[in-house]
């Protein structure tokens, strides 16, 4: 799947690139701008659960979630996940419609052009919506083709006696009755119908969720999450689906904080590498992909609090099963160019970077415990993860 390039050519190209960090930076910027980063615009009243969604989908604590009685998001902002250098997902978190002393027009203007999907968050039992419906109408008028997903949150408020989250997720297809559980409260259906009426013509599909905090004692603090992810996938423009699918594919529950951070870093770097290899300009991608991989490994080492030494570089590049070229370049960025094996295809670039990241992840986590993994172990992991990487990047079926 991935070809091995003529070493000489590559070396020449690398030398060129290494000569100019600035040049590389420019190229990276180019790639970054081309990367299909799914951008979700969260639009809803304050306390309706915008930040909760970001947190649930990313597992990151960056988005501050309120206690429910005071607006917690002080500024509207663009939130690149996991970071601005290798963005995988992008959230536009609006401060909160209906919040006292806040005028949303400016935010609406600045978010308007840069999003692929609007998530309108509404608490199911909240009918005080005039502050939301007005601006939403404007947003819809400005971009009628951009999909809008109506996310109805806080379901527990509608059924105080029953813990809905104990059952299977609820699905509400457009204008059809909700299904998913055997016994659904009649008032729940009424409320959803009312919401459809209140937002008539302003949304395309509906998701039902309850992301109430774990400590609040519901059976499932991610109720409706699966369905939400699926709907987002289906509604995103085709070009962005792949990234979304890859990002949402792994269950992170039960993983440690460090493992999670490493995982997101690997996914983000792999996706960027895939973008880079899709650039049709010959030899632009090459050093850039290498730079992305190098940076990824550095960052993983950093996550596990490990020093990057040539010993590590050697161990990792050796394991990748490629013709090793540990090359002592003069420039910092490309001081070690570990890998020569580069994918010819986009999926290959993704999978290769992914597998490499996973190996590094495992390697450093073992190192952090004071052990040294054997080459054999590393090699097995690399092979497994390579296959997994390929699967991840397969075009998701609609």
């Amino acid at each position: 799947m991935f070809g091995i390039f003529n070493q000489k050519k590559i070396a020449g190209e690398q030398a060129n690139a290494a000569e100019s960090d600035d040049d590389l930076k420019k190229k990276m910027e180019l790639i970054r701008n081309r990367a299909p980063v799914p951008t979700l615009w969260l639009f809803g009243k304050t306390g309706s659960g915008k930040s909760s969604i970001v947190q649930r989908l990313t597992g990151s604590d960056e988005a501050k979630i309120g206690q429910g009685f005071r607006p917690e998001t002080k500024f509207s902002r663009r939130y690149d996940f996991p970071n601005g250098e290798e963005p995988l997902l992008r959230f536009l978190d609006t401060r909160g419609i209906g919040e006292a002393h806040y005028d949303p027009t400016e935010d609406i203007d600045s978010f308007h052009s840069s999003s692929h999907l609007v998530l309108v968050t509404v608490r199911l039992v909240d009918h005080a919506l005039d502050s939301l419906v007005g601006p939403l109408r404007q947003i819809r008028r400005d971009a009628p083709d951009r999909p809008v997903l109506l996310v109805l949150t806080c379901l527990h408020e509608a059924s105080p006696e029953q813990d809905l989250s104990a059952g299977s997720e609820l699905v509400a297809e457009s204008s059809a009755p909700i299904h998913g559980q055997d016994e659904i409260d009649e008032s729940l259906q009424q409320l959803i119908d009312l919401k459809r009426k209140q937002f008539e013509g302003l949304f395309d599909r509906v998701a039902l969720i309850d992301f109430t905090h774990e400590s609040d004692g519901f059976s499932n603090s991610g109720f409706g999450e699966k369905n939400l992810k699926r709907l987002i996938l289906e509604m995103l423009p085709a070009a962005y689906r792949q990234t979304w699918a890859a990002a949402m594919s792994t269950q992170l529950e039960g993983k440690s904080e460090l493992q999670r951070r490493a995982h997101w870093q690997i996914l983000a770097s792999s996706a960027l590498a895939a973008t880079a290899s899709a650039v049709p300009i010959p030899w632009v991608n090459m050093p850039v992909v290498l730079a992305i991989q190098t940076r990824m490994i550095r960052k993983i080492a950093c996550i596990y609090d490990q020093q990057m030494t040539s010993k590590h570089w050697f161990a990792l590049s050796n394991v990748a099963g490629t013709q090793v070229a540990v090359r002592m370049a003069s420039r910092e960025l490309l001081k070690f160019i570990p890998f020569v094996g580069i994918a010819a295809s986009i999926a290959g670039a993704f999978a290769f970077t992914f597998a490499l990241g996973k190996v590094a992840d495992w390697y450093f986590s073992v190192q952090a415990q004071g052990k040294t993994p054997s080459d054999e172990e590393l090699r097995t992991i690399f092979a497994d993860q390579l296959a997994r990487g390929h699967k991840l990047w397969e075009t998701p079926s609609k």
Binding site: S48, G66, F69, S131, S187, S215, D216, G217
Partner: protein, 520 residues
Amino acid sequence: MKLLLKQLLNNPRIVVLFFVWTLPCILYVILGVIALFQTGWLLTLVWVLPLNWLVAWLISTYWKPTLAQRSKHIAAPELPEFWAERDQSAMQIVESFRASIAEVDESVFTDPQRYINDVQSLSRQLASHYYRKKEEEALHPVTVVEILAVVHLAVEDLEAWTQQNFPGSEIATIGHFSKIPGITKQVGNLSNLAYLASMIFQPIKVLAYPIYRKSGVVATELRSEIVTTIYQKFVQMAGFYLIEMYSGRLKAGSRVYKERFGHLVGAVRHAQGDRSKLDQINPQSISIALVGQVNAGKSSLVNHLLRGQHAITSIMPETKQVNRHRFPIADSSIQISLLDTPGYSDSLITRESSAEILKGVLSADIVLLVLAANSPAKQSDVQMLNELMKHYREHPELKAPRVLGVVTHIDLLRPVQEWQPPYDWRSPKTAKERSIHDTIDYCRELFGDAIQDYVPLCLLPQKSNEQSAVDDLLELITSEVSQGQAVALVRAYYDQFQKGRLERVVDQVANLVKHSIRKK
């Protein structure tokens, strides 16, 4: 002198009491004089009395009371509950005017020009306070009838006051004003009488008479102090009614005013701030408006207060128009109605509904703002309060109702699944108590002074509150009733006045039409 005797004869009780009280003193005096006479010390001691007078005279000459001290004799008046803020600041103008009045002598009351002048210049100052225009133009809206009404009312009040402070004096009308110097003369007469009496026991005092005459200045001074006090009181009273006049409440003439407000003013003064006495004023009806966003729990609150299912509550927006419910509260003759309004902020709300809400709020004497604790989006509540305050700023003659915050849905605060009242949110210890406490804090931050007090409640019938939370709310409402009554009274008065004026205009037009038809 004659007056004093007449007064004493009319009141034998006082004579008897006076006699019984003073008998031992007189006895001691007589015995003392006899004893002194026998020891032969009398001649040396007899000079003490005129010496004291001399000292008193010297002190009074060189130690004059300052104006400020003098004006302290009169306490600032208790302000009626129905006074708007503008009226209250007007009273400060009256007080500083009164304090600036220099010493006056008895002649002031026999010289009507003097006090009419003073009332007029005070009225000018007040007019510019009310109309914020140049003083000359300001007097324009005041009629002669009104000035007379003011003086009349002030004198009426003065009567009660002087009788309290100077028993035996009668001034009930302007005609009696000239009697005020008479009261002070009695003070002089009294001291003359005392001197004469003392001469009986002390013949030698005859020699000291010239000094006594000189010390008569003390009595005069005392007298002019009394006059000044009474006059200042008059000015204060007049100021009070001028304020009533400028606020427009006196326009319909002093009789109606007395009927409508008199008992309230009187009651406030009489009760000296004890509001419970106000409840005894003839029964009034007041209305309490429940406002808030849709589904905040307004209808639930009605049911909660009335202890039953009176209003339809629903998880869907249900209340479409303003509904009135009677709300009897224990041991009170006041009729209270609860106005359940449709919630605002509903995107499907009709224009009529919005108008209904506004009408309901503006006709309320107490406003309960129902706030859902679990929804931080409170911009529309802030807007509603601003609207309310704007209305009362534009109608400064009306008294603004008090706004109380009822914070509902506290059961849904975190931890969400916990509901085990009682919760002592004022000094929070558990997580739930902290949530409630912080919610109220946030509301305070947001609404500031616009909301006087808060009660957090869960209104879901399935989840009962502890008794004390319910009591808290009832207590709070009850304590606001007298304030609400004052609001209602002022509003009713203006409504009546406007209506009366309209009727008069209609009558006049009708007469005119009839007249012209007949002519043809």
